[in-house]
């Protein structure tokens, strides 16, 4: 008893939830604005992890010993990596299909996702095998009762919190945020008000990509193993988190992600098979009981 619901497990769940939250935000923002499930979003996460990996070895020589600066530079690289791939994906794959049937974009998204994964594992410089992620920050641990808290937990939670606060401010307080909200409410009316829709969509993709990239770095630091297919499952689970919270809803994505993280950690502690399946069980339950998600608004079918 107590082993499943311990403080340790709650912390692990929050840590996993933070990573899911950063990915889920991108899903939910993109869905809110173009009504597309961006299947390739999990791969932006993977790119972020690889960008962090590459930049660590690049900057390590430049700023030897100053781990704070180094960590910041690596985070920046991961976010830029995620944002760039998101920008390119939107520009070349989704933009030409913007006014075609929705299913075309969805299938293209699957294609893009497959392309990124296999292209990366086909590149000799990256390859399909696992790589161990370097310790960017020296691991420290504090004992608190029965729980062992590593500084990584605190870093993961803090980075996710800072980024989420930043995003909330961006969406609520800036003109660009206002434009994003307008486009997600009504694209045509937004265009009539003189908003450059394509620019806003492109920006949304980049913010989502940057967040996924940051999540890639955090995941690499926390579960120190990266490989080209690492984005598939976290991507799916983060998507489910976004659906759980109400897709298109930013606070909903955060809430859903933390619930998912904690649920998955508890379930895995109980039984690994249940841990693997719980995300899909949650998805099916949500869709059957409350398809709009916890915080989502009800959408009526337009005739």
């Amino acid at each position: 008893m107590g082993s499943i619901f311990s403080l340790q497990q709650i912390l692990n769940g929050l840590q996993l939830g933070s990573i899911y939250a950063l990915i889920a935000l991108g899903y939910t923002m993109v869905y809110g604005i173009v009504r597309l499930i961006n299947f390739a979003h999990g791969d932006f996460f993977m790119i972020g992890a690889y960008a962090a990996y590459g930049s660590f070895y690049m900057f390590n020589a430049l700023v030897a010993g100053r781990s704070g600066t180094l960590a910041f530079l690596v985070l920046l690289a991961a976010m830029i990596g995620g944002a760039s791939i998101a920008y390119l994906t939107n520009k070349f794959a989704y933009k030409p299909l913007r006014y075609k049937p929705k299913l075309s974009s969805l299938i293209t998204a699957i294609g893009v996702s497959m392309f990124i994964e296999y292209f990366f594992s086909a590149l000799p410089a990256i390859g399909p095998s696992y790589r161990s992620f370097p310790d960017i920050i020296v691991r420290k641990e504090i004992r608190l009762g029965n729980a062992v808290i590593s500084n990584l937990v605190i870093i993961d939670l803090a980075v996710a919190a800072i980024l989420m606060v930043g995003l909330t401010l961006l969406v609520r307080k800036t003109t660009l945020g206002k434009a994003m909200r307008a486009v997600s409410q009504d694209k045509d009316a937004a265009r009539l008000m003189g908003i450059d829709i394509e620019k806003v969509i492109s920006f949304t993709f980049m913010v989502g990509g940057a967040f996924a990239g940051a999540a890639g770095l955090l995941a690499g630091m926390t579960y120190p193993r990266i490989f080209p297919y690492m984005g598939i499952l976290p991507g799916l689970k983060a998507f489910i988190a976004a659906v759980l919270g109400g897709i298109g809803n930013i606070p909903g994505a955060m809430l859903g992600a933390y619930i998912m993280g904690i649920a998955e950690t508890f379930a895995s502690a109980y039984n690994s098979l249940i841990g693997e399946g719980i995300a899909f069980a949650i998805l099916i339950l949500v869709l059957l009981i409350r398809p709009r998600g916890l915080l989502g608004e009800k959408i009526a079918d337009k005739i």
Partner: protein, 330 residues
């Protein structure tokens, strides 16, 4: 009634059978090529049955190989573990065929169950649920020790041969075609065209969506069983998401809603896939560069993206060849 009605498709298939058999007997066609033809025919079953769900009824399933996995494991367990059939015994053929059908029936039942949550879901959500279902199936196979767990179910007798597979593919296409040309098929088409309008004119959309899933899953189960008895193995990775996407590419390359397109694309892409596999290996050997098999999937992914960007309707669009059509419909 149509007086000129000829079983054109039957004639075409019989001709195909004779040509392949003659070429094989005269050793112009080697065992490897025959194997690729067999694989293509199994993909014909998978692609046409997925087309019934995605193309005709306008739903979106991403877990088609999950159904095939159910068929493969059920029929494989029956023939290998329970009945312990042997290929040398001619009396084994009937129990083998019954096992394959049993696999199809179980897969159909699973499809029926999956069809239900799909009733409340559209497009992207349905895609995710079916994807999740496929992954759950794969995880379950991975964790059942009796069927080999992650090692897969080994030592399945090689019952599938060209004749059996061709007959199965022929029956699949004919049944799906007849279904499409019946009033049930019209109802399914109407759901694809406009679900709300279909409902308003009295089409029981729930019933037809579940029907499409059940039929589609049945044939996928048959295909999975035949595949397992062709390659003598049922392995969890054969039925994962990527494999489902390969079938998906076939129906979009061929044209959603066109059985002719699915058949052509199943052959074309299976041969392309093998060609790429050999070509990449040859290139790697010739140049000494580390060119991996992943490039094959890169080509596949690009193909899918380009079809969507530049030829949305696929090879055939919604057109059907006269060879396959039974009745002339305008």
């Amino acid at each position: 009634m149509n007086v000129r009605k000829l079983p054109r498709f039957l004639i075409a298939v019989v001709l195909f059978y004779i040509v392949v058999e003659v070429l094989y007997r005269t050793e112009i066609l080697n065992g490897y090529l025959l194997h690729i033809i067999n694989l293509s025919l199994i993909y014909v079953i998978l692609a046409t049955s997925l087309n019934l769900i995605n193309g005709i009824t306008g739903q979106f399933s991403l877990g088609h190989m999950g159904f095939a996995g159910v068929g493969a494991y059920v029929s494989g367990s029956l023939t290998t573990l329970i009945l312990k059939l042997s290929v040398t015994n001619p009396a084994s053929m009937l129990p083998f065929l019954l096992s394959i059908i049993a696999g199809g029936v179980v897969a159909a039942f699973v499809g029926f169950l999956i069809g239900f949550p799909s009733l409340r879901l559209k497009g992207d959500y349905l895609a995710i649920v079916t994807l999740g279902f496929g992954e759950i199936i794969r995880t379950i196979f991975n964790n059942i020790d009796a069927v080999g767990g992650p090692r897969g179910l080994l030592g399945i007798p090689k019952f599938s041969n060209f004749t059996v597979i061709l007959v199965a593919a022929f029956l699949t296409v004919v049944i799906i075609r007849n279904l499409i040309e019946s009033s049930h098929g019209r109802a399914m088409l109407s759901i694809r065209e406009n679900e709300l309008a279909a409902e308003l004119v009295g089409v029981n959309t729930t019933r037809y969506k579940v029907m499409a899933f059940t039929f589609g899953a049945f044939f996928a189960g048959i295909a999975g069983g035949l595949l397992a008895h062709l390659i003598q193995l049922a392995h969890p990775t054969q039925f994962g998401f990527i494999k489902s996407v390969e079938v998906l590419i076939m129906i979009y390359a061929g044209g959603v809603g066109s059985l002719t397109g699915s058949i052509l694309a199943a052959f074309g892409l299976t041969f392309l896939s093998e060609g790429l596999r050999l070509g990449i290996r040859a290139l790697a050997d010739a140049t000494g560069l580390p060119i991996g098999g992943e490039w094959r999937m890169v080509v596949y992914a690009l193909l899918l993206i380009f079809i969507m960007l530049f030829r949305n309707e696929g090879l055939m669009g919604m057109r059907e060849s006269r060879i396959i059509k039974n009745v002339e419909v305008d």
